[in-house]
């Protein structure tokens, strides 16, 4: 469903994403893991059509995102890492606008909006301006915005940031159910537990490249780390396992 071929993004001399090839089939929840600055968000934004790749292609359901953006994006729901919404719109108006961007309107959309707001405990805030929402509420609103047009593919960048435990649980269940009904999810996260518990397959991104990818057993096999958990495996691949002298940092 999602296919990246030779995907590359350069900023001058700096290579943020370096020749990534990846295929996420229909009905799979795929996790993208990596340290800060590894190129996850850049990759996600290229998939969503927000950034143009320097090289390579992104296809969604066989449609090239950058050559035929309208067709590809119509199947996609994107949840960014930072929940920027229009401050002077109400939650309901924001969702109506998000649905309209995908050409949807009418009573079915209104019912969908109410349903989503209800699920995310935002029903009481439907007619409030989003400038009064907390960070977590905005996050829930943009998640609803990505779901309002019933996408086939969800690309979600750091979904749990700012969510309370109840909403985080709801989102996990929602994404798993979405996948079980034939949807496709590409998720980037720092939270190892989330990745380990939710993802069918995982790719570890380091310095713009995929260092390893596969199911958890496959990852252990590839890295010759049979007994390791995902966190240790991640640190082993990204060079975070070295002993560090913290004393000097904590000295007063």
């Amino acid at each position: 469903m999602i296919q990246l071929a030779g995907l590359t993004k350069r900023y001058g001399q700096f290579v943020a994403v370096d020749n990534i090839d990846l295929r996420v089939p229909r009905g799979e929840l795929f996790g993208l893991l990596g340290p800060n600055g590894a190129g996850k968000t850049t990759t996600m934004r290229m998939i969503a059509g927000i950034l143009r790749p320097t090289d390579g292609t992104v296809t969604i359901g066989g449609i090239d995102v950058h050559r035929h953006p309208a067709g590809a994006k119509a199947r996609l729901g994107f949840i960014p890492d930072r929940p920027f919404v229009y401050d002077k719109l109400t939650g309901g108006e924001f969702l109506r606008f998000a649905a309209a961007l995908y050409g949807q309107q009418g009573p079915a959309v209104e019912r969908r909006i109410d349903e989503l707001l209800e699920q995310f405990d935002l029903a009481g805030w439907k007619h409030e301006l989003t400038e009064s929402y907390s960070h977590g509420m905005r996050q829930k609103l943009i998640i609803s915005g990505a779901l309002v047009h019933r996408p086939e593919v969800i690309v979600v960048d750091e979904p749990m940031v700012g969510l309370d435990p109840k909403s985080a649980r709801l989102l996990k269940d929602l994404l798993r159910q979405f996948v079980s009904r034939g949807g496709t999810v590409l998720l980037s996260t720092h939270t190892m537990e989330v990745a380990e518990a939710m993802c069918d397959r995982i790719a570890i991104v380091h310095r713009g490249r995929i260092a390893a990818h596969g199911t958890m057993p496959e990852l252990r096999q590839q890295t010759a780390s049979e007994q390791m958990g995902l966190e240790d495996l991640f640190l082993k691949l990204t060079g975070g396992l070295e002993e560090r002298a913290l004393d000097s940092l904590l000295e007063s």
Binding site: R52, F97, A100
Partner: protein, 565 residues
């Protein structure tokens, strides 16, 4: 914790600002050559035009026997008074952003920076942001004064010495006013309230300016006798205003008059104001800053559904909701819609001035005067339209800013986005253009021919000016601004104004000759038909406007496509 805490220096506190400015400058330089060339041409022609006008007017004034020098001083005083009012307004708007809404405030307030240093850093930022445009505008005018009056090699230094305190004083007043206001109202509300306060202030200033009637200074015959006229010239416009002290300091140098008072007043005033500003800041800033975090609005006062939605029902949902969204954001943001009041006030004054022109007072009006006034009216209408577009259309892409992820990740076509923005802004602008042209030409009792010229010019010019405002907004976006009111006064806003006024000047110059010929013929009783000259000029105007509409929009569409968020 051991040792004494060392305060970061003022330069350190300001490092992110000046380094950021340097990076932006470098990015501008490494940008496309066409953009750089456009900037260079527009900047040079605008600067040269102001210098040329100032130089010619000053040379004429200087040679007026007896009163030339007095008149030159008076003109400088009036110009600086206008600058002072712009600076006051601009400083209030800017200080609200720099002191209470900026994103670096959490970091700076949490850091161990002394109160005075913090104040100086933020004041410097405010002065630079709010005054660079005025300083740029003053440069050709002061250069003209220096050359006409042979100010000598040291004149630039003196001009700087006179101008620095002139810029600092309104900045301090602006910061004090803002901190007081924020202590009464939370900053987010203040920003909205400020719109109205500032508008009130501007309206009063404009009315005052009308009451002073500076044009009467150019008509000495309107005074009872020469002594009265001299008395008006000698009396300062406002003896306690820094604009008067600055004008006096500059003119004294140019006329070789030794008077220590103007520089003393200026520098002492600036020093005292700085101390007072720092004291008010120390006493009130933290309370205000704390309040500034609390002022979000919750309930919607104007839901804007129903009739408007029904009116737009024929549009596809994407376009309809886009227009509704833009209208909602505009009318719910008081800093946006309140500008309409200012626009209304300015238009009323403009129309009132046209009405009070003494061209229908019984005497037979000289033919040349009618032509000049009709063209001046066309030029002024064009200027008003360009300024309105700068305020309302130029910021429209910048205001999408950080929400662009939603638009870019959706199937919304970027061309559709651009065209929606274009018509949302240009539609009302076109209505305004037609209203101004028809009303003022009707008040001027112009011939049907001149009415046709006016309408035939203003319609394509409005379409062009809307496209230029939108496109320059795309080419020079301000995505990270904290205050929408600052967007039109950004660098890109000024480039847009210079470019649109250059287009206007070209159109008027092209039209002047054949229209004058036509009017001449009409006055001599000859039959006026559609001559070849006129058709060529009409075609040229249409082509210029079409190029000024299509080219910027194409550039903008291309830029929008390449833009990354």
């Amino acid at each position: 914790m051991t040792g004494t805490l060392r305060q970061p220096s003022l330069v350190t506190v300001l490092t992110p600002k000046w380094r950021g400015a340097l990076v932006r400058l470098r990015q501008e330089r490494s940008g496309s050559r066409a953009k750089l060339l456009l900037l260079l041409v527009a900047g040079t022609s605008f600067w040269a035009a102001i210098f040329g006008i100032a130089f010619r007017v000053l040379r004429y004034i200087r040679d007026v026997p007896e009163i030339g020098n007095l008149l030159a001083a008076k003109v400088l005083g009036v110009i600086l008074l206008a600058f002072l009012s712009i600076l006051l307004l601009s400083n209030i708007i800017t200080a609200l952003s720099t002191f209470f809404l900026a994103r670096d405030l959490d970091l700076l307030v949490a850091a161990p920076i002394g109160c005075f240093r913090f104040y100086l850093a933020k004041l410097s930022e405010t002065v630079v942001h709010s005054s660079w445009m005025v300083a740029l505008l003053a440069l050709p005018i002061l250069t003209a004064y220096g050359i006409v009056y042979r100010g000598g090699a040291l004149f630039p230094l003196l001009a700087v010495a006179a101008f620095v305190p002139f810029l600092v004083l309104p900045a301090v007043v602006g910061t004090v006013f803002t901190v007081l206001l924020v202590n009464v109202f939370p900053a987010r509300r203040t920003r909205e309230l400020l719109g109205l306060v500032a508008l009130g202030g501007v309206a009063i200033l404009v009315v005052l300016f009308r009451l002073i009637r500076p044009e009467e200074l150019a008509r000495p015959e309107g005074f009872r006798n020469f002594v009265d006229y001299l008395a008006v010239l000698r009396t300062p416009t406002g003896p306690w205003l820094p604009s008067e002290w600055t004008a006096a300091m500059i003119m004294n140098w140019l006329l070789h008059i030794a008077d220590p008072w103007p520089p003393t007043r200026l520098w002492t005033g600036a020093g005292l104001a700085l101390v007072a500003g720092a004291w008010v800041h120390r006493e009130l800033f933290l309370d205000g800053f704390s309040k500034a975090q609390e002022g979000a609005e919750r309930r919607v006062r104007r839901p804007l559904r129903g009739p408007l939605e029904r009116l737009l029902r024929w549009l596809p949902p994407q376009k309809r909701e886009f227009i509704l969204k833009d209208l909602r954001l505009f009318f719910r943001d008081n800093t946006q819609w309140s500008q309409l009041i200012l626009l209304g006030v300015l238009l009323m004054i403009y129309i009132f001035n046209i009405k009070t022109l003494p061209i229908h007072s019984g005497e037979r009006i000289p033919f040349g005067l009618v032509t000049i006034i009709a063209f001046l009216n066309l030029g002024l209408s064009g200027f008003v339209l360009a300024a309105v577009a700068a305020r309302f259309i130029f910021p429209s892409i910048s205001l999408e800013g950080r929400q662009m992820w939603l638009l870019r990740s959706s199937p919304l076509d970027l061309n559709a986005l651009l065209w929606s923005k274009y018509w949302i802004g240009t539609g009302p602008l076109l209505i305004l253009a037609l209203a101004i042209t028809i009303l003022t030409n009707w008040l001027l009792h112009v011939s049907p021919f001149m009415m046709a010229v006016g309408l035939g010019t203003v319609v394509p010019f409005t379409l062009a000016v809307g496209a230029m405002a939108l496109s320059f907004g795309v080419l020079y976006p301000q995505f990270s601004t904290e205050n929408a009111a600052q967007i039109p006064t950004s660098f890109g806003g000024i480039v847009y104004m210079m470019s649109s006024l250059s287009v206007l000047a070209i159109i008027i110059m092209i039209e002047a000759i054949p229209v004058t010929q036509q009017l001449q013929a009409w006055r001599q009783g000859e039959t006026v038909g559609l001559t070849l000259d006129l058709m060529v000029v009409a075609a040229a105007v249409l082509v210029i406007c079409a190029v000024a509409t299509i080219l910027p929009l194409r550039l903008a569409a291309k830029r929008l496509e390449q833009m990354e968020w």
